[in-house]
């Protein structure tokens, strides 16, 4: 039996760029170049490792996003994923995470899967709740925020390093997992991988294909409302001293004392 692994990825504005908001207070995706969210590379990596351990496996990478989101899919395909699904519909623009999770859940059901792998959060929204929402919508166990993951005998197992404790988790397939940036360095696409990715199938889906009403998604279907988004005034540089005379620590102590920290 083929182990069907679905990886959910997001196309995000480059975090090193000057990110901002568009007039409708959604994330501006025009001013800054986009790419596969760095944290999703870990998800693709773990999916590939699980598939390499399995006798027979297939890795499908899914995204919901505009035309350019194809770049994120290509990157995942060049890393080694087998095929891709791109949900692209103008009506989705402005969806909040509740709306996005509805679209992804339907796309996952249509695609078919035994295991869903997600990153720990996106680098733009940084909420980290999409995997939990998918588990809720699909009525599947969630084994999330894993720094180690493996699939053995129809079970997914993993280690979750929380704030207060480290937990070892176990859930029967099908299940939803998310992996952290501690799960293992993601591979770089090889030249061969990049060339092969160009020939791999990318299925295009619209809301109609998923039987989702337009008013369930987008800005109108969003259950949250952004009232304002203002650039924070940049921090201004204060005093800079050097330790040339060997008294840098003393100078710093004087500053901290003046600020009543010591």
């Amino acid at each position: 039996m083929t182990l069907r692994i679905a990886v959910c990825v997001k196309y995000v504005p480059d975090a090193t760029g000057d990110r901002g908001f568009a007039d409708d207070l959604t994330v501006d995706r025009d001013e800054v170049d986009g790419l596969l969210s760095e944290l999703d590379e870990y998800a693709v990596e773990q999916a590939l490792r699980i598939s390499e351990e399995a006798d027979d496996a297939e890795v499908t990478v899914l995204t919901v996003g505009p035309d350019d989101a194809k770049d994120a899919l290509r990157k995942a395909l060049s890393m080694g994923a087998d095929k891709a699904v791109h949900v692209n519909d103008e009506a989705i623009h402005g969806s909040d995470v509740i709306g996005t999770s509805a679209v992804l859940a339907k796309a996952l059901e249509k695609t078919g899967f035994d295991l869903v792998v997600c990153g720990m959060a996106s680098t733009d929204g940084t909420m980290g709740v999409l995997p939990a929402l998918l588990a809720e919508r699909l009525d599947l166990p969630q084994a999330t925020l894993l720094s180690e993951v493996s699939v053995e005998g129809g079970l997914v197992k993993g280690r979750r390093d929380g704030d207060a404790a480290t937990e070892y988790l176990e859930a029967p397939l099908p299940a939803v997992v998310s992996v952290t940036d501690q799960s293992g360095e993601a591979r770089y696409p090889s030249f061969k991988g990049i060339m092969a990715a160009k020939k791999k199938p990318v299925e295009e889906l619209e809301l109609d294909d998923l039987e989702i009403d337009e008013d369930e998604v987008g800005l109108a279907g969003s259950w949250t409302l952004v009232e304002s988004a203002d650039a924070r005034p940049a921090r201004t540089q204060g005093t800079i001293v050097t330790n040339e005379d060997g008294d840098g620590g003393k100078q710093l102590a004087a500053f901290l004392a003046a600020q009543k920290f010591i």
């Binding site: 925020l145 207060a164 404790a165 859930a171 540089q237 901290l256």
Partner: protein
């Protein structure tokens, strides 16, 4: 008065500080009620503390499920209470687990969700949350426009203030829904004796410039002289010099202390995302061109192995 449901995190019979902050914030929105979930442990002291910080009612539920199964039992409990009591908002601490719980509760209630609020105010159309986004370069104000607002709030967003209330305990029997991952084993994190990173008023962090795991000794000594938590940049964590649980940055902890000391940290966007909202920032770095100096209130260009011990000594002498 509107009932505001607060999920109260607790450990070893004590309420964790972020939950006291939530109770304090909840009083701006209405009358707080606390939800205390336990798996066999005594929760009397937790309920009493919740009352001291303003909980009119404390809903207590007990079940092995809360410890044995991931996330879902807590979602079951919170959703059930929110529905039965017709609450006006649900507040949860922004932790990995807290956000996951909140998200699933929101979906079950048919409600909008806001995560990582750093400020919360009552508004004409419901609570208005402030979030700090894009590596803290933007401040966003938003509100939930559908259903009962479910909001997670970051630690250190408010100073806890006591405001004694009745704290009437109501025992709740939760109907569990299942289909959760099993927690096969749990190892509590060993306490370092230092303050919790996200809750500490002062944080001292080391980065690539620390050079080795042993190098963190000077960082720890300074931290201890200030009663501070110790943080580390991703470079230092990836190099294996300091535990991931102490990582400050986009994929680690986001801290917002009164004072942040960056030692040997260049200040990449990844790191800035985790500390840029600190009140006062100071840095020690050999490289005068390090981007961290653009953010600082006070910076020393120099070797951290000379500057930090001298500073520690000065603090000890005061």
């Amino acid at each position: 008065m509107a009932e505001i449901l607060v999920l109260v995190d607790h450990a070893d019979g004590a309420v964790r500080k972020p939950a006291l902050e939530l109770l304090t914030l909840a009083r701006r929105l209405g009358e707080p009620s606390a939800v205390v979930l336990g798996a066999g442990e005594a929760t009397d002291a937790v309920a009493a503390t919740a009352a001291e910080y303003g909980a009119g009612t404390v809903y207590v539920a007990d079940g092995a499920e809360f410890a044995d199964l991931l996330v879902v039992p807590k979602v079951d409990a919170l959703t059930q209470i929110a529905k039965e009591k017709g609450v006006a908002a649900v507040l949860v601490t922004s932790s990995g687990e807290g956000k996951e719980i909140a998200a699933r509760v929101a979906l079950r209630l048919g409600s909008g969700l806001i995560t990582d609020a750093v400020e919360l105010e009552a508004g004409a159309e419901g609570p208005v949350a402030t979030q700090s986004v894009f590596a803290a370069s933007y401040q966003v104000k938003s509100r939930v426009s559908h259903g009962v607002p479910v909001i997670t709030v970051k630690p250190n967003s408010a100073a806890p203030e006591a405001a004694p209330a009745a704290g009437t305990v109501e025992t709740v029997t939760v109907a569990f829904t299942g289909n959760a991952a099993k927690v096969v084993s749990r190892t509590a994190r060993v306490s370092t004796g230092r303050p919790e990173l996200t809750e500490s008023a002062i944080v001292v962090s080391g980065g690539r410039g620390v050079g080795a795991a042993e190098g963190f000794e000077v960082v720890e000594k300074l931290a201890d002289s200030l009663g501070a938590a110790v943080g580390a940049s991703r470079a230092a964590v990836d190099a294996g010099w300091y535990p991931h649980s102490n990582q400050v940055g986009q994929t680690g902890k986001q801290v917002s202390p009164q004072l942040y000391v960056a030692a040997g940290i260049s200040g990449a966007i990844q790191h800035r995302a985790g500390m840029q909202t600190s009140k006062t920032i100071v840095a020690v770095n050999k490289d005068p061109e390090a981007p961290i100096f653009d953010l600082v209130d006070y910076g020393v260009v120099g070797d951290l192995f000379e500057v930090l011990p001298q500073l520690t000594e000065e603090i000890g002498a005061r």
